[in-house]
Symmetry: C2
Subunit: 341 residues, 2 copies
Amino acid sequence: MGIGARPADARRVTVRTVAAAAGVSTATVSRVMSGVATVKPELAQRVRQVADELGYRPSESARGLVRGATRHIGALMPDLANAYFHDVVKGVHHDAADAGFRMLIADHAGDPEDEHATAVDLMGHVDGLALLSPRLDRPALRDLARHHTPIVLVNRVEPGIDLPMIGVDSFTATLELCGHLAKLGHRRVAYVSGNEAAWQDRERWRAVQTSQFMGIEATRVESDGTIETSYAIAEQALTDSPTAMICFNDLAAIGVISRLRDLGVQVPSDVSVTGFDDIAIGRHIFPSLTTVTSPRDELGRRAWTLLHAALEGRTIEDSTLMLPAPLVVRHSTAAAPNNPG
Amino acid sequence: MGIGARPADARRVTVRTVAAAAGVSTATVSRVMSGVATVKPELAQRVRQVADELGYRPSESARGLVRGATRHIGALMPDLANAYFHDVVKGVHHDAADAGFRMLIADHAGDPEDEHATAVDLMGHVDGLALLSPRLDRPALRDLARHHTPIVLVNRVEPGIDLPMIGVDSFTATLELCGHLAKLGHRRVAYVSGNEAAWQDRERWRAVQTSQFMGIEATRVESDGTIETSYAIAEQALTDSPTAMICFNDLAAIGVISRLRDLGVQVPSDVSVTGFDDIAIGRHIFPSLTTVTSPRDELGRRAWTLLHAALEGRTIEDSTLMLPAPLVVRHSTAAAPNNPG
DNA sequence: GTGAAAGCGCTAACAT
DNA sequence: ATGTTAGCGCTTTCAC
């Protein structure tokens, strides 16, 4: 059904093809394509037209080879299904694009084993890498740091790893969240966890435990930061009759709230529920989510600043950044119900 | 604070470096790195060790240049913030990985102008491209089809374009959705649109209009398939007192429901609301969403089948696929309220 | 302002 | 089984 579909020309169109067709040298074609100014405008014009007619596209592989750089950065995403990461990546992307870098996003298809291999592979294709993977362990991180490709660790601060890194201060934010709950009279809470290998999870759980000084007693319930798993374990989290459930992130909170609704438990009058991240949907669900706002855009931008510096061989004074994350109280938290005992 | 951070060696480590260090030829190193069997195991072992010690990584640019192929496919995403697309891309990714292809995901940072340029650029880096962009116009598509890189159009069926393509049968599904609404007694409905340039939007709106034969009168309200815009225009959609709102997708439905809640309008008793796509969150919000299930995973897998065939120069009989999308009734739709007039 | 020519790092004949 | 060598397509001195 193709209309005038010419079979693709057998030979690839290269600089030489264009040069021959335009009656100039390959050097001139290269200069025109790269936008170097030292070509007479009318000649440049003609070359451009010939190139267009021939459908010429410079080979990125050849360019990358001769320049020793691809002008590409990579982003390794842990989970394409979590809106949180898009927002961070968008921040990186935006500023990187302004600096003339394209961004390659790689997802490791959910296979954690694959994460390290994917990172190494990706490094071969880019000039620098933003690592958003919270679960890579420290030896893997060390190995990655040995390579020559600049890397910045995003959304995670791991002392003792020789990499620029930037994260959100989950610990302080979670403590603030606990304070909010304590003030509302909550004493028994359940922590619906993220993946236990994730730095963010360790920080948040540590803060929840620390909140004992506020009178909060916490039980940890294993989940993984997804809606479905959190939905599945929400009932189990009810075991010790908590009056509040602190969820690792907003997705987990949504799963928990959904399950509580199915169970006939009222949120927030029976049980308060909190999230973390403040994804866009959080203010639109019912009840709207009390959560912590991660400055995702700034996270992304600052990550790019770090990466860009590394790309240019500049050394940055303080290459470990920790961003504050403010609490946002909405309607999924309320005063603890009176003890029915 | 770096522990034993060696400055990166001044010279790049290449095949030659490794060959010299291991006392073999570059060809042998190449064979070992590519896993070609014709090397004596013990020699291969030694080469591998030397390569490891030197931190050698073959240059992907050089490989790509000499092989004329990168073993990479690209996916151009319209919107990193829409969960729908991840699921499709995951389907592609999974099967492509099995076939030894890595996937590069590019997002055009929300700039529609940029979409075409991004596609062209991406084509330079990959052997084949999955185009998930619903908004590229036909001339742009034609231009893309002229290039030598195989492309498959995903989530969209555009007759007259000489490209393999695969989409979901929005028209039939939407008609079914209208039938469901008509049976519930709805007559006046508002269609909360997606981006008007999107194929899916045209199909769905066409079906809504067609449903006139069922007695449904529809008004179109412009939105763009995002939560925020749909939230913003939801009140305006109430103008003609519809008893149901058919939203372009689930995200739009979530925005609309949120606004109606703020307005004190009950869903579904006052107004029924429907979505489209059946994203994971839809069953967990309140009320749970009546929607249409797009077979995203199958969409992705079939897209890969098409692309893989094109990559190998095989011609596929029927390269225009249209997948059925079943209706799933949940709790955001109910009988139309009795006419209060 | 333009051309000639030397590689960038790798793989794939072709030799041995 | 391993080595030699000729490019892949491009950019970039260096001449002119």
